[in-house]
């Protein structure tokens, strides 16, 4: 049994949660109000943070209730060794601890090009090759060892993916080699499959379902620019059909699943309630 599976017993089950970022409550859904009004639908809050903006009053307010949180980083390039600085790690861990996060997670690719600087922000997927896997593994190991947190890498969204591997194979390799859990974003996977003209469930052979700790669900829109069709990860209320198909397929196999996040914070609450109900039916929360 690896360290990850030994630690698993202490990793809490969080149920269904909502995401948020700095200032998101003022423009969209306030997680605290949502939880107060629908305690049976929302059980935890995933805060997307970066060092530049830090924690906002929304997540601090949530943390004060004592309800669970997770910390989703928005500012480190997991596949780039030079980007994981001591400073980033120390300050990020401090923020995650301040909100009593159950674990840290985030898209494992690149959040910025070049140095961490204004104007350099652009979420990009990793190059899907073994060299990139190995560099990501070193970073995830370091984060886990130095922070004490489980670090769950997430498959990022993109219109263009480069590299010879399937994205599920890429993350399976990372999980086994870094001995970490996984955050599978079902909407991002649907985007990947569409970009490679694959069916939604392609690539799950040999996928370590037992390492999937968290799932993400979000709305997307099939759109096009200059005649080029792609799925825009716009976090609109309604997930596309392929996202639901992936979600249901994975839930039934992910025996160690602890959390599902519905990334819908920019929308009107009423447009999202039915999906919260559906997610709770698919993944009933028991304390």
């Amino acid at each position: 049994m690896t360290k990850f599976f030994e630690k698993l017993a202490k990793v809490p089950c969080l149920g269904v949660g909502i995401s948020g970022e700095f200032g998101s409550a003022s423009k969209g859904i306030d997680a605290c109000l949502l939880q107060e009004n629908y305690p049976e639908l929302v059980h935890f809050f995933e805060y997307g943070g970066d060092l530049e903006r830090g924690l906002d009053e929304h997540v601090r307010r949530w943390a004060m209730t004592g309800l669970p949180t997770t910390y989703h980083f928005l500012d480190v390039n997991i596949e780039e060794r030079v980007d994981l600085t001591k400073d980033w790690l120390v300050n990020t861990v401090e923020m995650a601890k301040e909100i009593n996060a159950a674990w840290v997670c985030g898209d494992a690719g690149r959040w910025h090009f070049g140095r961490r600087e204004r104007g350099h922000q652009m979420l990009m997927p990793p190059i899907l090759c073994m060299d990139s896997v190995l560099e990501s593994v070193n970073n995830i190991r370091q984060i886990q060892e130095e922070s004490g947190f489980c670090c769950l890498p997430e498959n990022p969204p993109a219109v263009i993916y480069l590299g010879e591997m399937h994205i599920l194979e890429y993350f399976a390799e990372i999980a086994e080699r870094a001995d970490c859990g996984l955050l599978l974003d079902c909407a991002h996977l649907a985007i990947f499959q569409h970009s490679r003209k694959l069916s939604p469930l392609t690539g799950f052979d040999n996928y370590p379902f037992e390492r999937v700790i968290e799932l993400h669900v979000a709305g997307g829109t099939l759109t096009e620019t200059n005649g080029y069709p792609y799925i825009d990860d716009d976090h609109s209320p309604e997930p596309i059909e392929a996202t639901w198909e992936i979600l249901e397929y994975v839930i039934s196999r992910a025996t160690n699943l602890r959390a599902i996040v519905y990334e819908c914070e920019h929308n009107i609450l009423e447009e999202c309630l039915d999906n919260f109900v559906k997610l709770n039916q698919l993944f009933p929360f028991t304390k």
């Binding site: 070049g114 990009m124 060299d131 263009i160 480069l162 080029y228």
Partner: protein
């Protein structure tokens, strides 16, 4: 490793349609000298070329952050050229591509791009040169703020063999005397048009005219210092400038005194300036 090169290439392709055309039409030339394998080259070319332009607002969004940092310079450029395309050409410039490929700063590359176009005579507004130098000084200082240094407690006596240097974020510059007046005039103009941005469409909207004359013979000396939200500027005397500019790299107090003396600043004055700057933590003992 070559996949890092591939990532940098991806960024360049996402920003620059001309580069996309070059890579697809002449990949061997476009990618020569780059650490990419044949397999990676094939993967790149297998992407539907329309995909690179899927986000038509990418340049404008990024330009907005550059314009925020070089607000006054870019206003002068737009007032002169009347073309947004002039700024957007940055994304096809060597300065841009080099900064991405070498993991540099895009903001500083943008400053280099404007500066080069001015040097080549493609921009002629005389006020631009020093305004751009000042905005670049501040941009560079902002980026240096993230450097961490240990600032030791000052000894009772400052021995001349002690080394001094600017704290991260501090720097000095000398500019033509009307640089600040030019900045103030442009900021006032931007404030007015920001009240109702659509007014720029009107014939009777405020126009940016009559910038203060360039006073090349007179200089103003400015000290850039770390502030609560970045950096701020302080007016200083010429003697302060001549002394402090020596502290861009670590030198002993003795060396600074000697150099300042060569520039005409008396030893006692230099000692006083150094002591004050150490006290105010513009300089530190390194």
């Amino acid at each position: 490793m070559s996949y890092h090169t591939l990532q940098h290439l991806t960024v360049r392709l996402l920003f620059d349609e001309k580069f996309v055309q070059y890579v697809y039409e002449n990949p061997d030339n476009a990618l020569s000298g780059l650490d990419v394998t044949n397999q990676e080259k094939q993967q790149l070319l297998a992407i539907d070329r329309r995909a690179w332009g899927y986000d038509p607002l990418r340049r404008l969004r990024t330009m907005r952050t550059l314009v925020e940092e070089f607000k006054v310079s870019t206003t002068i450029v737009l007032a002169e050229t009347k073309k947004l395309a002039f700024l957007e050409e940055f994304f096809s410039s060597q300065a841009f591509h080099q900064s991405i490929q070498e993991r540099g700063s895009m903001g500083l590359a943008f400053a280099d791009y404007l500066s080069e176009r001015f040097r080549k005579g493609e921009l002629k507004t005389p006020q631009l040169s020093d305004v751009l130098r000042l905005e670049t000084l501040m941009a560079r200082s902002r980026r240096n703020l993230s450097q961490k240094v240990q600032i030791p407690i000052l000894p009772d006596i400052l021995r001349e063999d002690l080394k001094i240097k600017f704290v991260p974020g501090a720097d000095v510059g000398a500019f033509q005397a009307n640089t600040i007046a030019t900045i103030q005039k442009i900021e006032k103009y931007l404030f007015e048009v920001n009240l109702m941005p659509a007014m720029v469409l009107c014939d009777d909207a405020p126009r940016l005219t009559n910038l203060p004359m360039v006073e090349a013979k007179k200089k103003s000396y400015l000290l850039c210092v770390p502030a609560a939200n970045g950096v701020s500027l302080v007016n200083i005397e010429k003697a302060d400038y001549l002394v402090l500019i020596e502290a861009r790299s670590a030198l002993t107090i003795r060396q600074v005194i000697e150099r300042a003396l060569a520039s005409g600043v008396a030893k006692a004055k230099t000692q006083e300036i150094i002591a004050r700057a150490l006290e105010e933590q513009t300089l530190y003992l390194c």
